[in-house]
Subunit: 525 residues, 2 copies
Amino acid sequence: MRSMWAPSGVEPVGPCVSTEIPGPVSKRLRAEMDPIHQTTSVKFFVDYERSFGNYLVDADGNTFLDVFMQISSLIFGYNHPDLIKVLSDPRFISAAVSRPALGSFPRNDFAPTISRALSAIAPKGCPLVQTMLCGTSANENAIKTAFIWYQTQKRGGPPSAEDLVSCMKQEPPGTPNICVISFDGAFHGRSLAALSMTHSKPVHKVDIPAFHWPVASFPRYKYPLEKNVQYNGEQDNDCLAKVEELIERQKKAKCEVAALIVEPIQSEGGDHHGSPAFFQGLRDITKKHGIVFIVDEVQTGGGGTGSFWAHESWNLSSPPDIVCFSKKLMIGGYFYAEHLRVKEPYRIYNTWMGEPTKLILLEKAIEVIKRDNLLEQVRKVGKGLQSGLRQIEISNQFHSRTSEDMLVAAFNKKCILRLVVISLLRGDGSLVSKIIFGFLRPECNEIFQSANNSKMRNVRGLGSYCAFDLCDTATRDKFLDTAVSNGLHMGGCGDTAVRFRPALIFTENHLEVALDIISKSMKRL
Amino acid sequence: MRSMWAPSGVEPVGPCVSTEIPGPVSKRLRAEMDPIHQTTSVKFFVDYERSFGNYLVDADGNTFLDVFMQISSLIFGYNHPDLIKVLSDPRFISAAVSRPALGSFPRNDFAPTISRALSAIAPKGCPLVQTMLCGTSANENAIKTAFIWYQTQKRGGPPSAEDLVSCMKQEPPGTPNICVISFDGAFHGRSLAALSMTHSKPVHKVDIPAFHWPVASFPRYKYPLEKNVQYNGEQDNDCLAKVEELIERQKKAKCEVAALIVEPIQSEGGDHHGSPAFFQGLRDITKKHGIVFIVDEVQTGGGGTGSFWAHESWNLSSPPDIVCFSKKLMIGGYFYAEHLRVKEPYRIYNTWMGEPTKLILLEKAIEVIKRDNLLEQVRKVGKGLQSGLRQIEISNQFHSRTSEDMLVAAFNKKCILRLVVISLLRGDGSLVSKIIFGFLRPECNEIFQSANNSKMRNVRGLGSYCAFDLCDTATRDKFLDTAVSNGLHMGGCGDTAVRFRPALIFTENHLEVALDIISKSMKRL
C-alpha cells in the first residue's frame, strides 16, 4: 500500500502572476485537449495538487487568490487536510470502488451518514432528504416530487388504471398538463426541463426546445437598499402581483401551476437579491393556492451566505416545501417536507441516486464547519467585504465625476470642506479616502450614489456572497481580466455583475488582499 | 496519515444465505432510514466493505453471487484491488477534495487522462468526448448537441440576433419546435426530457409532464432467432417503415425530427434486442433525412456485451453520430463525431461536467481489462451462459408439458425413444437432461419451443448480457425471490424478463454456480 500524498499545508503568502492569462502552458494543454474534447470555455488549466486553501495555482505556476472557487463549489478551497484524511476511511474506499445503486441496495451505514452529513443541517420544516448527483438533477427531481404530490392531491390517491395507461401514450390524465412558475433572470440548470425554468442568458437556451411554462418577474432593486425603500417595495409588490396573475391565467388555460421555484440570490442571472418580504409574499401565495414552494439553494446553500441556508434570513412564517442543494454541499439533492413523501416505490429513482463518497466527505465538512466556527467567520468577513466594496464604490464614483460636478453638488449639500480635502488626496487613493469617507455625512454619500458616470455600482451581498455591477459588459469583462492578472480570481454573472463566492475558509487577511486588488484594478479601467 | 483499509482479497467459495431476504438487520436499518429518506424501493442493505469480487454480502451477513451488479454499474464487482490502489494516487486525492469546474478550469492532466480512460475506447467515427455525471445527463446533453447541430445546419451558421432574443421568451425561432424520435419500450433516464423519450413502465412516467415527441416501434422478436427468421425480418421492416412514416408526419406537423435515440438492448424495458439489419436500417434512414443518430449505450457500453460497445456487433456501414455511456464506465458522457462539435462556448456546459476521480479510476479499469483479457473472457462466459440458459429453458419446457402431450408430439417427430429416456430421468433433473438434450435433434427441440405452458422462454443475449422471460410478472418476481434466497442476485426488467448484468470478472466458475441456482429455482416455481 503506497503512502498517501499530502499537500504543502501552507497557503502562499499572496498572489503571484508572472505570465499572461492563460499562460503558455495552459495554451499548450488546450491545444492538446482540443482534438478529443471541446475547449471553447476553458479559461486556464489548474495544478490542483499545488493549489492550497484559498489559493489556486495554474498550470503555468501563477498563484491566484480565488474568490470564485470553481463556480462556488469548493466549500474549503483546495486540498483541505481534514478532507484528505477522509480518503483513507474504509467507508470512503469501499464507496469509491464499489459504488452502490443506493435506491435499492444502500450501504449499511447510509442512514447514520445521511444523518450526520445532511439531517444535521436540514432546513426547518424539511426533515426528509433525497440525494442526487448535481444541482440540475436535484431540481429535476424536486419538480417531479411536486408534480406527483399535486396530482395525488387532485385525485385524492395514487394513479388510477386510466392514468397508468394514458401516461404511456403521453396523454392526459396520466401525462398531465401542469407547470412550474420560474422567474425572469433565474438559473436552475441546463437539462431541457431545467432550461425551461432558466431565463438568465440566451446562450443557455437558444436552439433547445422548451416547456412553455410561465415566467414571473423577479425584483430589480436600487442600491443602497436603505435609500430606495419605496421603489424596492413597489418592485416586490409588482412582482408578487404578477405571480398571482400568472396562477390565474394558467388555471384558465387549463395548465395549472403545481410548483414555484426561486433562488434566494439569482446568481447566474446577475446576483439579483430578493427581500425577505418578497419571499414571504411568495410563500403566502403558494400556500394560498396549494402550490409547492421550491427554494433552489444550489448556489446559496452550504454556508457562504453566513448560515447553512440563505432562506433562513427571510424569517418565513412557514418553511419552504422543498430546498434544493448542490455545489458546496458536494452532491446534489433536496430536503423536503413530510407531506411530499412519495408513497409508491421507483417513482423518484435512478441508478446511483447520489454518491456516498461525497456524503462521507460532507460529513467531515459539517464537523469542521462547527469545530472551526466557520459560519461565524463568514458573517464577519462578509460584513467586512460588503463595507470594503462600498468604500471602493464610493471612491470610484468620486473618481469618476468631474471636479466641477462634485464641488457644485457638495457645495449645495454643505460638505464642501471635506470634499476639498479628498480632492487633494485623490492621487494616492484608496486607504486615505476610505478613512475620510467613514466620516462623510450620509447626505454627501447620496451625491456620489446618484452619479451616472461611475463604473462600479450596486454593491450588495449576504454573508460573503457579495457582488457589484460595472457600467457595461465590456468594462466588467475587462475588470475581471485585470483582476486576474493582478492575482485575484473572481466570477462574472449576468451582463454586468462581478460576484464573490469564496470558500468558508476565507478570512480577513484574504479580504485585505482581495480589496486591494479590486481597488487597483478599478483604477485601471 | 492512517494506513489504508484493504479488503480480504479472496472471494467467498460460494453463496450462503441464512436469513430471509431482507433479513432482520436490513429491516432494522430500513426503519432507521425511513424518518429521513424514502425507503420504498430498498431491497436490502449491503455491507460494501465485506463484499468482494462477484460476491455481495448483505447487512445480515448473507453472501450472494451477484450477476446484477448495482443495476449493471460495477465493472469489476466489489473492492477490486487494482481500483483500491488508485485511491492513493495524488491525482485521485487532489481531484477528490478539490473538484474542478472542468469546463472552465480543467486539471492540467485532463487531456492525457481522458485520452487513456476514454479516447482509448472511443467508438469508430466518434473521436470527441464530453464527460457528464450520469446516463441521464449524458442523454440530455447528447440531444442538446443534436438540436444545436440541427438548427445550425438549417440556418447555415450560429444563432441570429432574432434567435437570441426570441429564445428568452421561449418562442421560435430561438426556441425551436423540433423533436427526437424514441422507441416504444425504451429507457433513456428520468429527467423530464429523458422521460419523454422513455416508454418502458408507467411508474416512470405517470404524473410527469412530457414533450410530445414521436414514438416509434422497436422489434419484438420470436426466439430462437434461427427458427423465426421471416417473422423477425418482418418485425424489422415494419419498425423501420414506422420510423420513416413518423419523420414525414413530423415534417407536416412543423415539428421536424432532429435526432433519433435508440438502445442496442432495451434493458429497463425488458431486454429486447434489435438485429444488426434493424440498426443498419435506422442508420440509413437517419443519414438520408439528416437526422442525428444517437446510440444510448449507457447500459450496454463498457464490455459486458463482449466488446466495449454493443453497436460494434452491427457492422454499420457508417458509425453512429453520438454514443452515450455511463454505468460500468463510472461517469456519464458521450462520444460524438467531429461535425457535431459545438463552436460557441458555454452552450454544452455546467458546473462540474463530469468527475475526474471517476476518470482516474476508469483509466485503471481500461488498463486492467486489456491486461486481463476481460473482453475475451466475457465473450467466452457469455456463450456458456446463453447455452446453459437454453438448456434450462428446454428442460423447463419439458417439465412443464404433460407426459401425453410430449409423447404424442415426440412420436410425430420420431424422437420418442430419447424422450422416454428423459422422462425416466425427470426426477433428478438438470445435469442428466443437459447431457441428453445436447444430443437431441433440432426437430425435437422445436416441439419444446412451441410449448405454451412452459414458464421460461426467449433466452437471448449478447456477451454476458443475457436474459429470459417467464410466463408472467408474478412468476418472474417469485423466481427472483427464490433465486436470491438460494444465493443468486439477479435483476428483473420489463414485465416478465430476468436479466444478467454480471461484472467483467464473472468467470465460468461463477457461471456454474449461477446456472445451478437458476435450475433449482425454476423447479420451485
